[in-house]
């Protein structure tokens, strides 16, 4: 087994160029090590990303909030910028896993594993985030979230590539996240939802709403988006929203046995989210 911990992008480039099918990129390790156990993988090598300085930190730019792939859930929660401006991401990070997991789990890892119930993924879909990918050749490409995640545990990452940063476009926004799990805390979402509203003079100018855990990747809730378009928060009628939420779930998973539960749960979820809007 091999272990390398590049300190910067240059060293990362060198490490990535030697990656083979048994090389894994590790950051928090909260998903990876479990996957490896389940798949009975031995003799693998690891590239530890946690020391790569370019992959760290949250940067405030004019048009973007630029979050390093290594930023942990705990760091997201501690960032006033995230808490103020990216409420949905803050809530997703706040309610993810347990304290120990939040201290390790990174935003990059959360999306690179492309788990179908990932709380961070559904938020980044709603935000229309771009994923910056760094390659062994030292190149960078930016891919929109909905192209980055291709399916259940599938991304567009090739061998020799790593998620380096996540870029969230800035706008006059109000955003919200919610999930329903099997219990109050330390729970994987049975259904989750992220809403991102572009606001103009108190009206929703554009709504971007995604539901998670109702398909292999987050599903855009177009009926809900249309409903919110042009309304003020005061005009939202909860019952209408719940009705549409139910339709969205039935549309997304028309045959799965879990739809019976999720089409009710989505109503509770939406009620909580609407109730928490400003």
């Amino acid at each position: 087994m091999m272990f390398t911990a590049p300190a910067d992008e240059k060293e990362l480039q060198a490490a990535l160029s030697q990656a083979d099918e048994r090389t894994y990129l590790i950051a928090g390790g909260t998903d990876l090590l479990i996957h490896l156990q389940n798949r009975k993988e031995t003799d693998c090598s690891f590239i530890d990303l946690t020391k790569v300085k370019e992959l760290q930190g949250i940067r405030e730019e004019k048009d973007w909030i630029d979050i390093g792939a290594l930023v942990t859930m705990t760091e997201l929660c501690a960032s006033p910028l995230v808490k103020e401006e990216l409420r949905a991401l803050y809530l997703a990070a706040y309610h993810l896993g347990s304290e120990q997991i939040r201290n390790r789990a990174t935003l990059g890892g959360a999306i690179a594993n492309a788990s179908q119930s990932s709380d961070c993924s559904v938020v980044l879909f709603a935000y229309g985030a771009l994923v910056e990918i760094f390659s062994a050749q030292g190149e960078r490409r930016k891919v929109p979230m909905d192209q980055f995640i291709k399916g259940r545990e599938k991304t567009c990452l090739d061998r020799g590539e790593a998620v380096s940063r996540i870029l969230i476009p800035r706008q006059e926004r109000s955003s919200m996240f919610g999930k329903v799990g099997a219990r109050k805390a330390v729970t994987i979402a049975k259904i989750n939802c992220a809403m991102d509203f572009r606001m103009e003079e108190g009206l929703i100018q554009k709504a971007s709403i995604y539901l998670g855990a109702v398909g292999v990747k987050p599903v855009e809730a177009r009926l809900l988006e249309n409903y919110f378009q042009g309304k003020s928060f005061a005009e939202i009628a909860l019952q209408d929203v719940q009705e549409l939420g139910k339709e969205e779930v039935e549309k997304a998973i028309p045959t799965r046995p879990s739809r019976f539960y999720k089409r009710v749960a989505v109503q509770g979820l939406l009620e909580d989210m609407i109730g928490a809007l400003p």
């Binding site: 031995t42 329903v180 099997a182 219990r183 330390v186 994987i188 009710v264 749960a265 109503q267 509770g268």
Partner: protein
């Protein structure tokens, strides 16, 4: 009531210092020179013949051997048998030739390091030839597919009393419920582990974080054809059991492996292996029909229950009988009938699990009692008060007398403290579109050992040393509950000696006197403290007799005072240590006794739980807002430990009520064999637990004590289910009440 000097007071546990420091050595922290690590290869198919391809695995550096069925003694055993006088179907082997459940033992990797074990395990290839699978009780009963032999029916029992026909004729209503309880995992935080070695004299020594050293010795003696004298089983530190380590398992695997290799062997499991490859609580499906009169009198009850026994016979007889026993000791019912059947299925074998059968039994019967109360329009507490047993009632099927049963007092005290009447009548006024509120109650009974069913005795050697300390040699197994500390207080009371001067041993087949059944069946505090009291009394007599003989003091003038003997009308004082020295010097005899003790009663212990819940009608999530546990404890030995048992018992059984269930698919695969998918209550889910102890002081019991550890893990379950049904107006009886089940019930209700 008798005033005690030590019993009933709050003492800090002696063993908690080293635990807080992380210094306690659990077995995984221990190593031996030249030790092999062992990891079992568990079947991934529920019913299959198989071939193991170990070629690649054996190439892993450090791998010593991979054992299969071919390599082990072909002696079948039944892990539930704990003494020679009991015999069930013997169908377990150390390693199996055919896999009968996902988790069945099909190979054993032995290697010089854990790392090598793990690596080799990844490289073992198994080819399975699948056989038809019995994955549920329905299929098992059809007998189309057989787990083994000619039928899946493993054990059947009918028991009852009274005039059923007459009772039914008199009844105004017959209230029937069908319900089910899940297979659950014990979830001791320490996964299963055991270690064995051959000592310098060629004897086999086994280290067991278990509950029955003498049973492990017996089983190994049979399997290895070795005399008992050559096998020593030592209870080592244990990180929780809850019945999961009650049946010897890795003790036997490690014992055989160490004997075959003549090297020390430590066999360990990870969480998944503990979940699927050991034992689980038996799942049940029950039909309960209760005949009631309009005035609230229960006239008759029929209980019909099927038990999911799993792939080997293990505890089929025990679970059916333990379940049945508890039906007859809670309510005065003129006629009852129980019909129980345990079936083989291609699933993890059933095993002991905290409160053995009680949680399954009361899960449905106590919901049925509420249902009956609703049918006749009576408050469920009032209905219970009309029918609960009275002190000294007889057991209607011939079991031991119930003793000073204080269940009614528990219920009354609880009603008052919980403000039951007001809550039951008004709590639902808070209901809105989103949330529903409700309260529920449930009663439960449990035993105190095996008297009336199996050999019930223990032996104690009690020694007072010349340094004034006492050693109590007794075969008990500390599981974390504080057994040793409880017994220390009873010994302190019996000897009139400060607890810190007393050492209670853990079980060791070579050093501690024989005990009939191990640390199970809620027998330890009740039986062992009786033995300690008897030994203490005899030793005190010996102390007086020594002074009489050596110092010529009349025994009538002597009395003890905290490790000393004083003489009335004199300022003369002898310490216990001085007396021990005198006895040895002048009488050529150590100051010790060895006694045999048999209890002659088995009073019932009781608990009543009250629960308040808030149910989210949109997500199906239940918040238990309040729990009140009232226990007929007899006499609390150490209230801090008693509270710990009751709070932990609530966590345990609320899991069965709300979230814990090993879910199987139709092929017998466990769908949630990890803690990320098998949800036990964490700190955020855990309600506050209020406790009332009713100290009824059963006269037949040493110091008046009754059991609590198992008893505490029963009533909170049905109390919560009754509260949910109260909140929602549902009649849910299938445990656990997961969000999905609650939403489904609400949808059906419309």
């Amino acid at each position: 009531m008798k005033q005690f000097k030590y019993i009933g007071k709050r003492f800090q546990r002696e063993d908690s210092l080293e635990r807080a420091e992380g210094k306690t050595k659990f077995l995984a922290d221990c190593k031996r020179l030249n030790m092999l690590y062992g990891k079992l290869i568990l079947s991934e198919h529920a019913h299959a013949d198989f071939q193991l391809d170990t070629e690649e695995a054996l190439k892993v550096p450090g791998v010593y051997k991979i054992l299969t069925y071919e390599d082990i003694p072909h002696v079948a055993y039944n892990s539930m048998e704990w003494f020679t006088g009991i015999q069930a179907q013997r169908d377990e082997y150390i390693l199996n030739e055919r896999a009968r459940f996902v988790g069945d033992r099909i190979g054993l990797i032995l290697a010089e390091s854990k790392e090598a074990c793990e690596k080799a395990w990844c490289k073992v290839k198994v080819q399975y030839q699948d056989l038809p699978v019995v994955a549920d009780l329905q299929t098992a009963q059809e007998d189309r597919i057989l787990v083994r032999g000619k039928t899946n029916l493993a054990y059947e029992k009918n028991i009852g009393y009274g005039d059923l026909a007459n009772a039914e004729a008199e009844a105004d209503f017959i209230v029937e419920d069908r319900g089910s309880t899940p297979r659950t995992h014990h979830l001791a935080i320490e996964p299963h582990i055991a270690m064995a070695e051959v000592d310098d004299f060629g004897n086999l020594v086994v280290y067991s974080p278990g509950q029955v050293v003498f049973a492990a010795q017996m089983q190994l003696s049979r399997i290895l054809h070795l005399s008992y004298a050559r096998i020593r089983v030592i209870k080592c530190n244990m990180g929780g059991s809850f019945g999961g380590k009650q049946q010897p398992l890795l003790e036997l695997t490690a014992g055989v492996a160490a004997w075959l290799t003549q090297r020390p062997v430590q066999i360990y499991m990870n969480r998944r292996e503990s979940m699927i490859g050991t034992f689980t609580r038996n799942g049940t499906e029950a039909r309960v029909a209760t005949a009631v009169r309009k005035d609230g009198k229960i006239l008759e009850r029929k209980v019909d229950t099927c038990f999911d026994g799993g792939a080997y016979d293990t505890n089929n007889t025990s679970i059916v009988n333990a379940y049945a026993k508890k039906l007859f000791r809670l309510y005065r019912i003129p006629a009852q009938e129980f019909h129980g059947r345990a079936y083989y299925t291609d699933k993890t074998p059933g095993g002991a699990c905290r409160a053995y059968g009680g949680p399954q039994n009361h899960a449905i019967t106590e919901v049925n009692i509420d249902h009956a109360a609703r049918v006749i329009g009576m408050d469920p507490c009032e209905f219970r008060l009309k029918n609960l047993v009275e002190p000294y009632d007889a057991d209607p099927v011939g079991g031991p007398n119930l003793g000073k049963a204080a269940v009614k007092e528990c219920l009354r005290k609880g009603m008052e403290a919980f403000h039951w009447k007001e809550k039951y009548a008004h709590i639902r006024e808070q209901n809105n579109d989103r949330y529903a509120y409700g309260v529920g109650v449930a009663c439960a009974d449990h035993g105190n050992g095996y008297f009336g069913a199996f050999p019930e005795f223990t032996n104690v050697e009690m020694i007072l040393h010349p340094d004034g300390t006492a050693l109590v040699k007794i075969a008990v197994h500390e599981q974390g509950c504080g057994t040793l500390d409880s017994l220390r207080l009873t010994a302190a009371e019996a000897l009139d000696l400060a607890p810190e001067k007393i050492t209670i041993t853990e079980a060791d087949t070579l050093l501690t006197p024989y005990d009939s059944a191990g640390t199970q069946a809620s027998r330890v505090t009740f039986v062992s403290s009786g033995a300690i009291l008897q030994a203490g009394n005899q030793l005190r007599e010996k102390i007086f007799q020594t002074l009489h003989e050596v110092e010529k003091i009349e025994p009538d003038l002597l009395y003890t005072d905290n490790g000393t003997v004083k003489v009335k009308g004199s300022d003369k004082t002898y310490t216990y240590g001085e007396i021990a020295t005198l006895r040895e010097k002048k009488m050529f005899d150590p100051l010790s006794v060895y006694i045999h003790y048999e209890p002659h009663s088995n009073p019932a212990a009781y608990a009543v739980s009250f629960a308040q819940v808030k149910v989210d009608k949109k997500t199906g999530l239940v918040e238990v807002q309040k729990l009140l546990a009232v226990h007929d404890i007899g006499q609390a030995v150490n209230p801090t430990l008693v509270e710990g048992q009751i709070q932990g018992g609530a966590q345990f059984i609320l899991g069965m009520a709300l979230s814990e269930e090993l879910v199987y698919d139709s092929k017998g695969n466990v769908k949630n064999s990890s803690l990320s998918k098998y949800h036990t209550l964490n700190v955020q889910d855990m309600p506050p637990v209020d406790i009332i102890l009713v100290e009824s002081h059963d006269e037949s019991s040493p110091f008046g004590v009754k059991s609590v550890g198992e008893m505490s893990a029963v009533a909170p379950g049905p109390a919560v289910v009754n509260a949910i049904n109260h909140a929602l107006g549902t009649e849910l009886t299938d445990y656990p009440l997961t969000p999905e089940r609650i939403i489904e019930a609400l949808e059906q209700k419309g």
